[in-house]
């Protein structure tokens, strides 16, 4: 296990130890899963076993919960998560076109990750930014009033930044 992984596990364990001490400790399961996803980007199977052990909650129950909520990813995701909003306001203002553009540009469908592991595409239910619909969110940043061209430009910005990053490192 690398140092980074040990650190992650330690942080998770500390979080769970705190949770177990609370009254109704079972009820903190979703909070723990949020923590796992924050650390790992998704919910890895072996980490779930650790959670089951520490929290004293059956793995089956944990998976029941993890699969019920859209927010949790069950497989590894790319470096950037692109969430195209498909809320009503965005729908009325052409969100499907934005989604089609992203799909075509990244050559993946919703729920998939690009081969270079740079982007994962998700659909969002409503990002609450209806005033500037249609919108998409890349990681925590919201991009509004999109059309096909603007969408492609934004994705290219991320690609460019990644390329520059790689060049800097090499």
């Amino acid at each position: 296990m690398t140092q980074v992984e040990t650190d992650k596990l330690n942080e998770l364990n500390a979080f769970m130890e705190q949770a177990v001490q609370n009254e109704h400790s079972d009820s903190y399961l979703i909070a723990v899963l949020h923590k796992v996803q924050q650390l790992y980007g998704y919910l890895p199977r072996e980490v779930m076993d650790t959670v089951a052990d520490k929290m004293q909650i059956p793995t089956a129950h944990i998976w029941g919960v993890a699969t019920f909520y859209h927010y949790f990813n069950l497989s590894p995701i790319g470096k950037h998560t692109v969430s195209v909003c498909l809320g009503t306001a965005c729908y009325v203002k052409g969100a499907e076109k934005v989604l089609d553009t992203v799909k075509k540009e990244l050559k993946i469908t919703v729920g998939q990750t690009t081969e270079d592991r740079l982007f994962t595409l998700q659909e969002a239910r409503c990002l609450g930014a209806c005033g500037i619909a249609p919108v998409m969110m890349i990681d925590d940043k919201i991009y509004g009033e999109l059309d096909a061209k603007k969408t492609v430009d934004i994705i290219n910005q991320y690609r460019k930044a990644e390329k520059q990053n790689a060049e800097k490192q090499s």
Binding site: H24, D26, S27, Y28, L29, I30, A31, L33, H34, I57, H61, G64, V65, F68, Y69, H70, Y71, F72, L86, G87, T88, A89, C90, Y91, V92, K93, A124, R125, C126, L127, G128, A129, C130, G131, I132, A133, D140, A148
Partner: protein
């Protein structure tokens, strides 16, 4: 609180003070006030201030009147004893003395005049959003300066729990989450339940697509929500509160956490609040992206760490809720109204609105309307006033087709319902619902069948799967709607949708299923002709259902070749600088040629 104010750097402003010098004010010693004011300013060495005298303002009952600009702050019945406070707080520290301003009796609309004559604000009345956009949400001192936590202090020192409940009942406030259950009654039920601990929950799981009022309220004024919850806790006898909020709202979560820390430090939250023996604390729990968790029993299951599935009621959460204990659940907007109900009084609150619906409602106005955003109007305002007077009408010269309220649980109201007054009953009578406050304006470019399909797709996906009518019924409805939008609709489909929808409404377990067919049923009721065109003539008048479109290139074509290059199906032929032609057999109706043409030569029909 003095040390809290340290971090406020107010830049030096030139203040222009206007003192009314009309006969009544002179009678009320405005001359003497002038001297005191002048002396006080000199005494404190305040620079950049000029004092002017004005003729009679006409508001003689409130005289003497002192107006401070910039900001149009108007002080009424000013007495010499008030002058030191006004000079110190307003002119030195930059904080108007809310207590002495003319509308000091009301919390609502206090700062409204600073918005001036902008149409967008003209018809609004802000109770929930009274501080949004005005105060710094991350600074508790700002909230205190607008009489923040004063309602809590009043409740803890002067009111018994049953008085608080009586006041809320008197206000006529109803649940702003959508169903409109009388808030006071809910409080009373929970207060009466006896079974050990009790809980207070704030439902901030705003899942309706197209709704963002709760996010706006928490981000703009988190303390008012906390204050409402603490008062609720006192009224029903709870020690613990939980805010259940969507994980998709990181900024709202951050501001809420910050507000809770500040409130704890100031003694508004935690042990022995304001030195009394009442203790109450609040915890945040994150949702994880499940629309059904907005339903109260599902929300409780989610807080308990399980799959968020609803259960039959009764028992209602007021009797057996979180961890089996009596639980009071209200929506963000409902909580934000509580401090106003307490300070301005239930009588005043119930004077606003209609016979059955009191107060105001916040709407998230979005879609094809010029001014999108959050608006708050008194109950009884018409849809027309919201869309045209506040929203500024439909952009690009398009025609209004429908207004959608209530999100996936609501309905679409066509133009003839524009004069419907907004209240729980009128909207229901018109065939929609109040809902939590999403309001989407739809113009002629949207296909109503497509919109109905969009909503059913949503509820289908969000159906938790516990009860059959919702799980299977919405799926069958989606299949039929998909068929219709693909141009494969059959005679009898509309009737089938109506039958199925009625059945799902009657037999589903929770609110999600019981309201899921509404968008379909209301579009069938109001836009039946569009469904019939899709089924019988294979025509979509909005030009949205791709399968029913055909693209042609007209005379404007200059033969630039842009469409030919972009066509993924190779369906466009034509030599350079000559008119191009689309082969309908090859065309996959993706619309890229239409988008790319700079000469408007491609038309769709």
């Amino acid at each position: 609180m003095a040390d809290l104010r340290k971090d406020n750097n107010v830049k030096e402003v030139h203040y222009k003070l206007t003192l009314c010098d009309g006969p009544t004010c002179i009678h009320n010693q405005s001359k003497q006030l002038h001297q005191v004011l002048d002396a006080e300013i000199k005494n404190r060495g305040v620079q950049n201030v000029s004092i002017h005298l004005s003729g009679c303002l006409g508001m003689c009952k409130k005289g003497p009147i002192l107006i401070v600009n910039p900001g149009y702050t108007m002080y009424g019945n000013v007495k010499a004893a008030d002058i030191p406070e006004i000079v110190q707080s307003h002119l030195v520290e930059g904080k108007p003395v809310a207590r002495l301003t003319i509308i000091e009796d009301h919390l609502y609309n206090r700062f409204f005049r600073i918005f001036g004559d902008v149409d967008f604000f003209g018809k609004q009345m802000r109770i929930t959003l009274r501080n949004c956009g005005i105060i710094d949400p991350e600074n508790i001192d700002d909230y205190l300066s607008v009489r923040g936590y004063e309602a809590l202090a009043k409740v803890l020192t002067n009111m018994k729990p049953q008085d608080v409940i009586a006041e809320v009942k008197k206000s006529g406030l109803r649940g702003r989450g959508g169903a409109g259950f009388p808030t006071g009654l809910k409080w009373e039920f929970t207060a009466k339940a006896v079974n050990g601990d009790k809980y207070v929950i704030c439902n901030a799981d705003e899942g309706d697509p197209g709704a963002f009022m709760d996010r706006g309220t928490i981000e703009g004024d988190p303390h008012t929500v906390l204050e409402g919850m603490i008062i609720g806790g006192y009224a029903i006898g709870a020690k613990k509160g939980i805010v259940y909020i969507r994980a998709e709202y990181p900024l709202a979560i951050k501001r809420l956490e910050k507000a809770m820390d500040a409130a704890r430090q100031c003694g508004f939250l935690g042990k022995n609040i304001l030195g009394t023996d009442f203790s109450f604390d609040i915890e945040i729990r994150l949702g994880a992206g499940a629309f059904v968790c907005g339903e109260e029993t599902a929300l409780i299951h989610s807080i308990e760490g399980s799959r968020g599935m609803p259960r039959p009621r009764p028992p209602f959460p007021a009797v057996s809720g979180l961890f089996g204990k009596p639980t009071l659940i209200n929506n963000v907007e409902t909580w934000a109204n509580i401090p106003v109900v307490i300070l301005d009084g239930g009588d005043w609150f119930s004077s606003i609105g209609t016979e059955t619906s009191k107060g105001t409602k916040v709407f998230a106005l979005a879609g094809k309307v010029r001014n999108t955003g959050m608006v708050e109007v008194p109950m009884g305002t018409t849809l027309r006033e919201i869309v045209y007077d506040i929203g500024g009408g439909i952009p690009n010269g398009k025609k209004l087709k429908a207004i959608q309220t209530g999100g996936p649980s609501g309905g679409c109201l066509p133009e003839q319902y524009l004069d419907t007054q907004i209240d729980y009953e009128s909207l229901a009578k018109a065939g929609s619902i109040m809902g939590s406050g999403g309001m989407i304006v739809i113009d002629e470019d949207s296909c109503m069948v497509g919109l109905a399909k969009f909503f059913i797709e949503f509820t289908q996906d969000e159906s938790c799967g516990k009860c059959t009518p919702c799980r299977e019924g919405t799926k069958r409805m989606l299949e039929i709607l998909t068929r219709i939008t693909r141009g494969e609709g059959r005679p009898g489909d509309i009737e089938k949708l109506e039958r199925l929808g009625g059945m799902i409404k009657k037999s589903s377990l929770c609110g999600l299923g019981q309201s899921a067919p509404n968008p379909v049923l209301s579009t069938i009721k109001n836009f039946r002709a569009e469904y019939e065109e899709h089924i019988h003539q294979k025509k979509c008048r909005a030009g949205q259902c791709a399968a029913m479109l055909s693209y042609t290139i007209g005379e404007r074509c200059v033969g630039c070749g842009a469409c030919k290059r972009v066509c993924p199906a190779g369906a466009i032929e034509g030599a350079r600088k000559e008119k191009h032609v689309i082969d309908a057999a090859k065309c996959i109706r993706c619309g890229q040629c239409f988008d790319v043409c700079k000469f408007n030569a491609v038309s769709k029909a």
